[in-house]
Symmetry: C2
Subunit: 199 residues, 2 copies
């Protein structure tokens, strides 16, 4: 089977698996659950995916690659540093809104205990890639004299990344307030100007 060929059964399995993995986690989702939902049999699933782990990895890759693509596109849209940061943050929030299950998968995997996932699951380099994009932006901002050099680029990048993350994580853990473009703007503002009142 050509890896680029659209395949209805394969896609159906992926779609069902995404929903179930997002809802029940890796261990809590059985192959039987997935094939029941997809209306196929186990060997049919194993025809397309060598193992449960590879099925999960396929979804995880999709989540990370799509997110990275959106981040790059968002950065290109921004006119200046502030605008780029705002666009990137908003892209994250839009991704959360449109692909909540994929985002949930990413965070559940990142924080899962080491032995909870199969050893072959890979995600760290892709997490790092996202962070690096923001850190490089911060670095260029420091070089251009827009951002303080009293902090390392790593520290500043963690600052804004952490502020974005908390909004995503809060929405995942306790749905209620979906972060928006306004949220992104406020985060960038807080990041750049700080919280202390001016005297």
């Amino acid at each position: 089977m050509e890896p680029n060929v659209v395949n209805a059964t394969r896609d159906k399995i992926l779609a069902i698996a995404l929903r179930l993995f997002a809802d029940r986690g890796y261990a809590g989702t059985s192959i039987q659950d997935i094939v029941d939902g997809a209306r196929v049999t186990k060997p049919a699933l194993y025809y397309y995916f060598p193992s449960k782990a590879e099925l999960y990895q396929a979804l995880l890759n999709r989540a990370h690659d799509e997110r990275f693509r959106l981040m790059q596109a968002a950065s290109a849209r921004g006119k200046d540093l502030s605008g780029k940061l705002e666009e990137i943050l908003n892209a994250h929030f839009a991704f959360l809104k449109s692909h909540r299950e994929l985002v949930g998968l990413v965070y559940a995997t990142a924080f899962a205990a080491r032995g909870e996932m199969p050893k072959e699951i890979r995600y760290l380099d892709k997490c790092q890639r996202n962070f690096d994009l923001i850190r490089d932006l911060i670095r260029s901002g420091q070089r251009a004299g827009e951002l303080k050099r009293a902090f390392t680029a790593e520290h500043l990048a963690r600052g804004i990344f952490g502020m974005m993350n908390i909004h995503v994580q809060a929405e995942l853990v306790q749905p209620g307030q979906k972060p928006s473009r306004k949220t992104a703007r406020q985060i960038v503002q807080l990041f750049l100007e700080g919280a202390a009142a001016r005297t």
Copy 2:
């Protein structure tokens, strides 16, 4: 059995369970693993804990309660808002250093898929409690005129909480740079003053 009475077998089970749950996750740790490690039998474990879920909940409660206690003590140590925030952040980092497994358990649980944990596991109110402590501190800072009122207390609290979290999470996911008091100071500084260079 009196709940306050020290019990060597119960404590041994808890200690082994903590290590295994932190390393393998809830689903990846079997009761058999735990009893093998603790050198007891399954019915002995069930003598002390009604179920696997209750065993996990006992550890989770310990993590959350200890963390909250440290946050309160830290806040009391701080002289002013800045000092309080720094103490609280540093308390978190110290807790991470001394009780890494408990911290891992907290994050793995928070981000786990909803159906991955037994339905009876409770943690949201205790997570919220930690956040509320910081938000109330921020609120009092706003009232005292130290912090901007252009942002809601919720937003500011998420700001600093998110900055702290990213350091904890980075250390959990990719151990290497343990956050310290210096990290806490830098975060508070960044939070209060912002990242933009002054012109």
